[in-house]
């Protein structure tokens, strides 16, 4: 084996071992040094690649539970989506007002989105780790200025063609959905009550915040907390 072949092998697979490689290594100090350094590089690389794995995937019981629940949630999700879509189409046909009126579409589209993700309304969801909430907010172009309380669901969702943060917090009556909408502007606060939900869309300096909950829920404190604690990035 010559230096070219040795370096080709070491450069593509530093941990490869063979009698030929060993023999060349013993006879060529320069190549031996190169091989040592490449192996050191691969050891650090291996450690670098070993990022922590979330418990949902590393613990067998959690993994199995996730798969079982995930399958069920997906089926539920699709059924709800079909139902929500048919409700919207039906309402549109009857009233003739739903399509083409951007601001009045917003509440219906928000509710359709909530129905599209029914798992977000599970009242038993655990508190989401802050790092995940923070990551979702950042990707949803939201800066956190203060405390928003315990978040039970955090997802980055496509809404009207934009990635937005979709959070759920716990209210007095049940889950309260908070959609942070940097690309939606309303001229004034819009309250709505339909499809078994009540909601409010609050204008902010850039974009708006939608809060949706049970018809009997008091949304005021969540509204105040989020209005005070979040800001949209440019």
């Amino acid at each position: 084996m010559n230096c070219i072949e040795f370096r080709r092998q070491v450069g593509t697979a530093p941990r490869t071992q063979s009698d030929e490689l060993l023999a060349h290594r013993q006879s060529c100090p320069t190549c031996a040094r190169l091989a040592d350094e490449m192996q050191s590089m691969d050891s650090v690389l291996e450690q670098a690649f070993k990022v922590d794995v979330p418990a949902s995937l590393s613990e067998p019981a959690a993994l199995l539970a996730g798969v079982r629940q995930g399958g069920a949630a997906q089926r539920f999700h699709r059924a709800w989506y079909a139902l929500a879509a048919s409700v919207l189409v039906g309402v549109g046909l009857v009233t003739g007002l739903w399509l083409g009126q951007t601001s009045s579409d917003l509440p219906a589209e928000l509710i359709a989105h909530v129905l599209h993700e029914p798992e977000s309304l599970n009242p038993d969801l655990p508190i989401v780790e802050f790092s995940r909430v923070s990551n979702i907010l950042e990707r949803g172009r939201v800066s956190l200025l203060g405390d928003i309380g315990d978040v039970r669901y955090a997802g980055l969702c496509m809404f009207r063609g934009n990635s937005v943060a979709h959070l759920v917090v716990r209210g007095e009556r049940g889950p309260i959905t908070v959609m942070l909408l940097p690309d939606e502007r309303v001229s004034e606060t819009m309250a709505f009550n339909e499809e078994g939900f009540q909601g409010v869309i609050v204008p902010t300096r850039r974009g708006s915040i939608a809060i949706i909950g049970d018809p009997d829920e008091l949304l005021g404190s969540v509204r105040e907390q989020f209005s005070r604690s979040v800001e949209f990035s440019i």
Binding site: C3, I4, R7, R8, G11, T12, A13, T30, L34, E37, M38, S40, M41, D42, V44, L45, E46, Q47, A48, F49, K50, V51, D52, V53, P54, S56, L57, S58, P60, L63, L64, G66, V67, R68, G70, G71, Q74, R132, N135, I136, L156
Partner: protein
């Protein structure tokens, strides 16, 4: 297949691969949440197809392929795979630096700056122990192209790290 048998098969054939699949997905996307979602989706598909899954080797290839495709689908990214079989620069004496003292944090940062086309074969080989043939099958590349990418990946990594002074000391920082 009974539920208990299905569960046993899942725990034997699929479950142990979940951490590796997550790390692979993470280094494709560098997004923990996305990687978790992609692997969860892959696990659900595996659960639904357990009746058809038999031997460990084909299950492994199948799962890694799903993760790869799911990731590509998520980004709706068309991949332009090259067939570069030349080996320029393989006599480069500066492949490894004289003092390889970069820490895990530096290397992770450098990996983040590297194109996925180079990072991917590296994680498959170094962390997941795939052979060149297995990497080629997964990435739909010839073995020569895989070897070239592996070589260039290490060279690129070194170049990126040399642009930045290494952090003092050697410490693990996971």
């Amino acid at each position: 297949m009974s539920d208990a048998a299905k569960q046993r098969q899942f725990e034997t054939l699929v479950g142990p691969l979940a951490p590796d699949l997550f790390r692979y997905a993470y280094w494709l996307s560098r997004d923990r949440q996305l990687a978790e979602d992609v692997v969860q989706e892959t696990m659900i598909r595996a659960w639904k197809s357990l009746d058809r899954l038999r031997d460990a080797a084909s299950v492994k290839h199948w799962l890694f392929t799903i993760v790869r495709r799911e990731h590509a689908r998520t980004f709706e990214r068309k991949r332009f795979d090259t067939v570069d079989i030349d080996t320029p620069g393989m006599m480069d004496d500066n492949l490894a630096s004289p003092d390889w003292n970069h820490n895990v944090h530096d290397v992770r940062e450098a990996l983040g700056k590297m194109e996925t086309d180079y990072r991917e074969p590296l994680v498959l080989q170094v962390l997941l122990g795939h052979s060149v043939r297995e990497i080629g099958a997964l990435m739909e590349l010839g073995e020569g192209a895989v070897l070239t990418r592996l070589f260039r990946a290490r060279k690129k990594l070194k170049a990126i790290l040399e642009d930045k002074p290494s952090s003092p000391g050697w410490k693990e920082n996971r």
